[in-house]
Amino acid sequence: MTRPFTWCVLAAALWVAAGARAEDVLIRGATVYTESRQGTLGHGDVLLHDGSVAAIGVALAAPAGTTVIEAHGRPLTPGLFGGMSGVGLEDVAAEPQANDTTLDAQSPAWNEQWRPELDITLAYNPRSDFVPITRLEGVTWTMLAPGVGDTIVGGQGAAVSLDGRFDAVLPDSHFLLLDMGGDGARRAGGTRAAEFMLLDQAIAEAHGVAAGAGALLHPAGRDVLARYLKGGHVVFRVQRAADILAVLSFARRNGMNPVIWGGAEAWVVGRELAQAHVPVVLNPLEDLPKSFDRLGATLDNAARLARSGVLIAFSSDNTEFARTARQLAGNAVAHGLPWEAALAALTANPADVFGVGATRGRIEIGRRADLVLWSGDPLELASLPDRVWANGRDVPLRSRQTELRDRYLKRLAAGEAR
């Protein structure tokens, strides 16, 4: 009899977490960047009913009981993408008890320690401080990415909505993470060539070839890898141009659907990436040769990739900085990327890259409201979100940090910050 009781409690908890039903709202007179076929509405209205977008247009009527927000031309965008992050996986990166990002198998890489079956989203905590703190900057979703431990296989991640709900993982958004290039090399016996050698072996195991004592995978891992040979996204963390081409070739050979993450030198092979329809998730601020894999790093990377026709999305690659997504985009504009393309790299593009384009990254009728009303140009540092709706919820712009701020502002006002 304990089981039904447990489920009742769980259901109640989920309902509470979801909060009260969002009020109906008409956002009137905004500059609406739909990121959809509707384009940008210069003086547009968006009606939210029951947490979803009910209408988009001009001079919409407000049904009875609807709260009207006069936007006065302020920008309204889809909720932003927080990049590849560990929001909700870690509260303090340096504290093992508060960091669930990484599986450390502590064993030689070739001794049955590859664990593609790891699903890092099972560690996600929607009550982490990081969720409201990140959301305060207009970021409503992120790709939860596992860290990379002792092998080149990080495991699986997925998209999560930063709406505070327990069931935040977006359906059909899982991906498999492989760390390649120079970083992966030390996890593969010292040479990046061994990354492909080991991957070939693992794929053979996934196809059912008996590997004997030297097997890389457990049965569950074989199943998961086999699945990614038929579909889903395989994210390759890789920087060097030659390695990117090697990954493209490897993925093509094995029927994988690759995403390049990092891509410091991706601009060098922009044409090949575009021809293969392979997207790149990059940090456009990376401009230093921080390793020999990144000698060609440049602030022009995003603009050049876009010119080559590559689908790009932005990521700070850092949990604490997931909230600075806009700064990445603004700088990309300063270095030659068209403004609209930069906004797309935080909205529609990442949604499409990771297969959640039907629910994230655009403002369209029928979708759950995932929107930000900005005080000004959303890519400009002086602007901040005035209102945020995450997955239908009108979320309060408060966090532990605003609580700290307000406590000490009072003391400061009294000359007692000592």
């Binding site: 590849m84 992050s85 560990g86 996986l89 870690e90 509260d91 303090v92 990166a93 340096a94 504290e95 093992p96 990002t101 990484t102 450390d104 703190i133 860290g147 990379v148 431990g149 760390d179 970083d183 963390r237 920087q239 141009a241 990092g262 060098v268 092979v269 601020l285 990376e286 401009d287 230093l288 040769p289 921080k290 390793s291 020999f292 000698l295 060609g296 050049r304 690659d317 850092n318 949990t319 604490e320 900085f321 806009r326 700064q327 700088n331 504009v333 300063a334 890519l379 540092l381 002086a382 602007s383 940090q401 605003t402 700290l404 701020r405 000490y408 502002l409 400061l412 007692e416 910050a417």
Partner: protein
């Protein structure tokens, strides 16, 4: 290859080394540094250096400017008139449609309708903004260079908790490509610090951001040195993990106190030597005087025929020498300290030994004690929004800078501790401005620019030489394409002592590190280099 021994290699998203810039820097070795002053102290018998610090021990043979003297010279340039820009002077003023005149490397005048001297180079800044050169008080460029390799991992002498004997300048690799990307972000002066693995990490060095084959060619002439010290988690983690002191915060504090107690003892040894040396000199003088004077006969007492033996100086101890110079007020303490309660403890440690802390760096909780810091005249060097990567960073808030700026005499500094952040200190300030504004702490651009110019100059002891556009100061100027607190603004031109060091309009002439020279596919390589 992480810079420090982090408890887990992968902070957040991964064990990706790429992450180390942000996380590991603060986390591990990251930012600490000190600034210092006179390198080896003084001569016991009275050079200028000794005058200013009679108690400072030093080798008899040391020379006045100290070893490793700067070889930087202000280049000869024609007068420079930057005309018609929106000028943020760094002193809190904004002048619209104003001119800045630089002659012989120094600011001559700031005002409207200034006349161009003959042969002046005139730069049209209409529609653009003009600010003092940016100063980063916390950088590890050169000591943690790009690429991050074992061979260039030179920022932390993590072999002992107190390494006051090491000098950051001996680790600086002048070919770090990070210097030139920082220059493109308007940085003209920067303090390079040892890392934060140690309680006392060593001397800092202040550099001008000029391309040079040697570190001496970059050294800011006669800039005070700093001493990098570190509170909190990093030292106790690094040494605690080796089952060695310190492994706790109380161990940290015991370590600082013992180090300075040892330095006091060292000072006493040198003071004693100096007294004996003075006596010896007096005797010599008397004897010389007596030998030639009228009273030579009476002076020729028994024993005075013997040759006088000069006193033997104490052996130089490079560690204690540096600490003694801190006690003498010649070297400025630059203290990595996140938490408010730890800063308060360190202020008391400083009082106990009679030294002054110039600035707390990474002062994530400075907002909690903004009034106290202002009263004590201690600056806080901060990030705009770094937080949460370790326990002592957990209370970081985005209003820290404007809150520290608020009290009278508050000294807020925006710093980088990052080869990435240093390229965009103006943007870091801009984020803090936005959050301050929302919290009711409005900071206009003319005030905020001080966070990255005059305030760090003060904490470095260079406020009379750089940090603002005032007559007589060095001609370090940035011409920005727009309001520098816009994300779209770029530094169009960067001048150091009146010499053009970066010009966005002439990319071919920009500095290029030896390391990047001739590399395939280096930064901003033309499209034609693309793979076929």
């Amino acid at each position: 290859m992480t810079r420090v021994q982090a408890p887990r290699q992968s902070g957040t998203v991964a064990g990706w080394r790429g992450r180390s810039a942000a996380l590991l820097a603060g986390l591990t070795l990251g930012g600490l540094a000190l600034a210092g002053v006179t390198p080896t102290g003084s001569v016991p018998d009275g050079t200028a250096a000794a005058d200013s610090a009679a108690s400072v021990p030093g080798p008899e043979a040391s020379t006045s400017p100290g070893p490793f003297p700067s070889t930087y010279r202000v280049p000869a340039t024609p007068p420079l008139l930057i005309r018609g820009g929106t000028v943020l002077t760094g002193t809190g003023e904004r002048l619209d449609d104003a001119d800045v005149l630089i002659v012989e490397g120094r600011v001559r005048a700031v005002g409207t309708h200034l006349a161009a001297p003959p042969e002046a180079r005139v730069v049209d800044a209409h529609g653009r903004w003009v600010t003092p050169g940016i100063i980063d008080i916390h950088s590890h460029l050169g000591v943690y260079a790009s690429p991050a390799t074992r061979g260039t991992d030179d920022g932390n002498e993590a072999t002992s908790p107190v390494t006051a004997n090491v000098w950051a300048e001996h680790s600086v690799w002048p070919q770090d490509p990070g210097f030139e990307t920082a220059l493109e972000g308007g940085v003209t002066t920067l303090q390079i610090l040892p890392g934060s693995a140690n309680l006392i990490g060593g001397r800092s060095v202040v550099l001008k951001n000029v391309a040079s084959t040697t570190v001496q060619g970059m050294k800011f002439p006669d800039a005070p040195y700093g001493l990098k010290m570190a509170c909190g988690e990093n030292p106790k983690r690094v040494y605690g993990s080796r089952h060695q002191a310190p492994s706790t915060r109380m161990g940290d504090v015991a370590g600082y106190r013992q180090a300075f107690a040892d330095a006091q003892d060292y000072q006493r040894q040198w003071d004693k030597y100096r007294r004996e040396f003075a006596e010896y000199q007096a005797k010599l003088a008397r004897r010389a005087h007596g030998g030639s004077g009228a009273h030579a006969g009476t002076a020729a007492r028994a024993g005075e025929d013997k040759p006088l033996t000069p006193p033997t100086p104490p052996k130089r101890d490079l560690k204690l020498e540096t600490l003694a110079e801190v006690l003498a007020g010649q070297i400025r303490v630059q203290m990595h300290c996140y938490r408010a309660d730890e800063m308060a403890i360190m202020l008391d440690v400083a009082d106990e030994f009679g030294f002054k802390i110039a600035a707390f760096h990474h002062a994530v909780e400075a907002y909690k004690i903004a009034d106290r810091l202002a009263e004590r005249g201690v600056c806080a060097a901060m990030w705009a929004d770094w937080w949460g990567f370790k326990m002592e960073a957990f209370d970081g808030i985005q209003e820290n800078l404007p809150m520290v700026d608020r009290p009278a005499n508050g000294c807020a500094i925006v710093h980088s501790d990052s080869e990435d952040g240093i390229q965009r200190l103006n943007q870091e300030a801009a984020k803090a401005i936005a959050h301050g504004e929302r919290a009711g702490l409005s900071v206009p651009p003319e005030r905020a620019i001080r966070w990255l110019t005059l305030n760090p100059a003060k904490a470095l002891g260079l406020e009379d030489r750089v940090g603002s556009l005032e007559p007589g100061k060095g001609g370090d100027v940035v011409v920005w394409s727009a309001n520098p607190f816009s994300v779209y603004a770029l530094a169009d031109q960067v001048y150091i002592d009146g010499a053009l060091r970066f010009d966005r309009a002439h990319p071919a002439a920009r500095p290029r590190s030896d390391f990047l020279l001739g590399q395939p596919g280096t930064q901003s390589a033309p499209d034609s280099e693309k793979a076929p």
